[in-house]
Symmetry: D2
Subunit: 159 residues, 4 copies
């Protein structure tokens, strides 16, 4: 999965890179074809391409509502994890991985604004509230023409 060259610099892998690696390798994220596009302390996003398996409406060839809710949920999780990272800087690498595995969605709201048409999609998550226990994030999904398809809000346990 990783070339030996990057392995050799593992010691200096930043905590955010550990988060990225975890999310890129979640089995269901791989099934959907999601790839972390960018990751900062207060915003993060995925990119993925349309393919036949992601269709929910054969007549119209658009994304299944579940693909949209999945991408928004994992975008919020990625964002919430990154936002809480600042308080975890002192942890050892394997403790960071354990902590990431404990981050979980408490609840999710998705608003479907337009049909999920497009060839490539981008999600963006931003932090609305972050604390010692809970982070709240807002997420958006757009297609390659920047047409907004859905928005959402997620609440995550990060403590």
């Amino acid at each position: 999965m990783k070339a030996s060259k990057s392995e050799s610099t593992e010691g200096i892998k930043s905590p955010l890179n550990i988060v990225r690696e975890v999310y890129d390798n979640l089995p269901f994220n791989r099934l959907l074809g999601l790839k972390v596009e960018f990751l900062e302390i207060d915003r993060a996003g995925f990119i993925f391409s349309m393919n036949n398996d992601l269709i929910g409406n054969t007549a119209h060839g658009i994304l299944h509502g579940g693909v949209i809710s999945s991408v928004l949920d994992t975008t919020g999780g990625l964002t919430a994890t990154a936002s809480a990272m600042e308080r975890k800087q002192d942890l050892a690498k394997d403790e960071i991985a354990k902590w990431i595995a404990r981050v979980g969605t408490i609840d999710l709201r998705v608003d479907y604004l337009r049909p999920g048409k497009g060839s490539q999609f981008h999600s963006i998550g931003t932090v609305m509230r972050t604390g010692r226990k809970v982070a709240v994030t807002r997420m958006e999904l757009s297609n390659q023409e920047n047409i907004l398809i859905a928005v959402g809000t997620g609440t995550y346990i990060v403590g």
Copy 2:
């Protein structure tokens, strides 16, 4: 899937059976391994099995939050469609299929109650409100031991 005997009576296929067939064959539902388990005018449910692709947390081997939101969304869609079927009885078969393709989620809320552990999962959707334009449904996801994993509420355009 269907015995040849029922095939021969296709001409009299009930509207609910058309709905079932559509949902069993949505590409993303097939990717998740979802199968309509039961379908009535005011309640409906899917069944599916755990598999490696559905995992969201490698450390704990549990369902990805997106799988859960996907199943709840499509369960609500199935339930809302069935509930609105009564008003569509007079439509011809292909008009019914066209109408089903227009049913869409307006918004979805998911509450994640317990980790998605299990070997087989069942969803149930019930109708909370149905009208000429909009249906609201409540959904639940449990595992093979009837442990409740998540609940949700969805609002659907059915007009």
Copy 3:
């Protein structure tokens, strides 16, 4: 309720002014002290002042969560009504009033971001989706220092 002077210009009262008048005079909006601050075809807002009756936490002197959800709900309703007004321009004045009375909230989500501290509060609603049947709006509540206290999303029947 209205001075005779304004009565005399009733004939030229714009549809948006009818909407404003309805919302300013909803009994519960009056109880809360809400006043429409601005009203356009795609955005609208209320203004109100802190008073002792609106407190939900005596120890900290902050707005009750219910005041916040109430203001966001009615802000979304005002915004949704205005956004659907374009399609109602040909209605007579009393038919407009009847239609306004039929606009209703389907569902509401509120995210409480910070304690409701302040002396004066402003809400803003914007349209995220509007159609013949349903409008979806996003709402924000801030205090006199533009500190964001809560955000929300509402889905409204406007058909």
Copy 4:
């Protein structure tokens, strides 16, 4: 706030009674006319009567959507507080009051099912999930004929 007579039996006041007293005396709950009807460790409810100030739709004489969201929010808060009380049994009385003041809504979802018609209304909250940091509750509002008017879900900080 309390007469000296009740003061004298203070020593035996149960923690749940302290919670009840706090909620009965929240200024905004008093404005709405809410009274705690019952309060147990895993369920709780309010009762209140229709009055003109609570109306949101003069044409139809029904409850304002904000009254409904307010009652559901405070019902969830009451339920979440009671559910977390078990872990606070050892606290002194004034520490309990301080802790109650820190319980707060993170987010709220309300589904409006039927017009808020009636002379008297009851709310019920039940616990769906409770932990050291967060509690999730489900709430219902019905009228005196047990007609269900609205349901909701709330997520509360209880840590």
